[in-house]
């Protein structure tokens, strides 16, 4: 087992001294080389789980293990693509991409080669010397992805990496990510709001419930690769996941707009099913 979470609880202290129960009894494993997506309504604790695995935060109770060892601090075996990108604005695109490489025992030429390769992969070869403020939101996110991928991590933790991208770029990057994953065989935990995206990429999709976040259900995607969105297995799963997610969304909306709010299922179903995932 590559990644193991056992009875993980997480509470945050709020400003008024009260506690916010964010993660409730999280239990799941990720096998070596497995591609797992985490799906769930906003605020259910997805990013929090990712930070626990990355070693950037500590669980209130429970066990987080990578390679059988308890996670106590960040390490280059686990690289994160942050939801907010997190590029350093004072460095050029290339300096950002080589930041982690320069800390590894690697020759200058090797670093250079990897950086060029990484930037070409996200189609930003011509922007090596640009500064992040000169890039669009989607371009920044692609640099952040390149910065993570060049590190060749054993475990890649991606927090909604493609949310800000246009459909075209997203599809290109889906392909690239799957290629890289096949080549390197690394383990990937991928957070997304997009059901279609989760099903296209993953071996398994974990669905979370509203706060306090729990793993509500696990769907194994038994469809052939490369994935075809029209595959009956995927279409079928999409409906099932959607139904579950709608139930969770309704809870969130009730919490926000009061009890009399009711999500009209027919009304939502009249739209395009597949895009609904991105509107959570």
């Amino acid at each position: 087992m590559k990644v193991e979470l056992k009875d993980v609880h997480k509470e945050f202290k709020k400003g008024d001294g009260q506690k916010l129960h964010v993660l409730d009894d999280i239990n799941f494993n990720i096998e070596e080389g497995e591609f797992v997506s985490l799906l769930g309504p906003s605020g259910c604790g997805k990013s929090t789980i990712l930070k626990l695995i990355a070693g950037l935060d500590k669980a209130t109770s429970g066990d987080v293990r990578v390679n059988g060892e308890q996670v106590t601090k960040p390490g280059t075996d686990r690289i994160v693509v942050f939801q907010e990108g997190g590029l350093f604005p004072w460095m050029t695109v290339k300096q950002n991409v080589t930041y982690g490489l320069n800390l590894k025992k690697m020759s200058k030429a090797e670093v250079e080669e990897k950086a060029v390769e990484g930037l070409q992969m996200v189609h930003l070869g011509n922007f090596a010397d640009a500064y992040p403020h000169e890039l669009s939101g989607g371009m920044k996110q692609r640099v952040a992805i390149a910065r993570a991928l060049v590190m060749d991590p054993e475990v890649l933790l991606m927090d909604e990496p493609f949310a800000a991208l246009d459909e075209q770029t997203r599809l290109v990057l889906h392909k690239e990510l799957q290629n890289i994953w096949r080549k390197t065989g690394n383990t990937i935990l991928f957070i997304t709001h997009n059901i279609r995206e989760a099903l296209t990429l993953s071996d398994r999709v974990l669905l979370m419930s509203t706060r306090p976040g729990k793993i509500k259900e696990s769907f194994t995607v038994r469809a052939a690769r490369p994935r075809d969105p029209a595959d009956s297995v995927i279409v079928d799963l999409e409906k099932r996941v959607m139904t579950e997610l709608e139930i969770e969304m309704e809870k969130v909306l009730k919490e926000e707009f009061g009890d009399d709010y009711s999500l009209k299922t027919d009304h939502l179903r009249s739209g395009d099913h597949r895009d609904m995932g991105s509107n959570i």
Binding site: P74, V80, G86, F88, W90, G100, M151
Partner: protein
């Protein structure tokens, strides 16, 4: 407009010419004007040497203040106990006008260059400390997290992330600290020194040459504005743009 009013008052003759000299047009043929004195004292090198002396002192004192301010700021941000002790103290020290230190400086260092440097440095250090500690404390955790997962820690993290991420705070600190230093050096030189623009001002007063005094005031105003606009404001804007903030 102001120049016009000044000229009229000067020519009305309420005050003797030495007290209220005209700026541009002499009151009697061949008489003094501020502009004339300004030009001739620049040519004679009197103002140039004085400016050089002042700026050199300023540069040295200001550099000391930057180094001290950054060091104190870092320690305050890094160690809780330093924040509780020095941090509290600094806020109090910051509110003391630096010229108040002058008597102490004279006793400690004697009347001279060192005392002036001390005044300049102490005038700018506290502001620099407050701003840089704010910068170091407010490094976005996103940057720290990103760097840590990429393998950075310790001194490398400080050098590559903590310091660069604090640059916007540090630059605005520099700008304010500069203004304090500039005021401090004038006060210091005026009260007791040899050489420098402040000393020249005092000299002008003692020989009752207000044309000289006004010339120097013009020079002081120009230098202050140029440095603030051309150096600090530009730095601030450039940094804000790169860091994605709107000015």
């Amino acid at each position: 407009m102001i120049i016009g009013i000044w000229e009229v008052i000067s020519k009305l003759g309420f005050f003797p010419t030495f007290m209220f000299p005209p700026l541009i047009i002499p009151n009697e043929p061949g008489g003094v004007t501020v502009i004339g004195t300004l030009i001739s004292s620049i040519i004679s090198g009197q103002i140039v040497t004085a400016t050089a002396t002042t700026l050199t002192r300023l540069l040295v004192g200001f550099s000391i203040a930057i180094v001290l301010g950054l060091t104190f700021g870092f320690l305050i941000a890094r160690y809780k106990w330093v924040d509780d002790t020095l941090g509290f103290f600094v806020t109090a020290l910051q509110s003391i006008p630096s010229i108040v230190w002058f008597p102490l400086a004279i006793v400690w260092f004697g009347l001279g260059n060192t005392a002036i440097l001390f005044i300049v440095a102490i005038g700018a250090t506290w502001t620099m400390t407050v701003n840089s500690s704010a910068g170091f404390k407010n490094v976005p955790s996103l940057y720290l997290n990103a760097a840590k997962t990429l393998g950075s820690s310790g001194a490398h993290l400080v050098r590559t992330v903590v310091i660069p991420a604090s640059i916007p705070h540090i630059i605005s600190g520099l700008r304010v600290a500069w203004a304090f230093a500039w005021r401090a050096i004038m006060a210091g030189e005026l009260l007791g020194s040899t050489g420098g623009l402040g000393y020249l001002l005092d000299l002008g007063r003692s020989i009752q040459a207000m044309d000289l005094v006004l010339s120097i005031m013009i020079v002081i105003g120009i230098i202050g504005t140029i440095i603030d606009n051309q150096v600090f404001l530009r730095m601030e804007r450039a940094v804000a743009r790169r860091y994605g903030q709107t000015v």
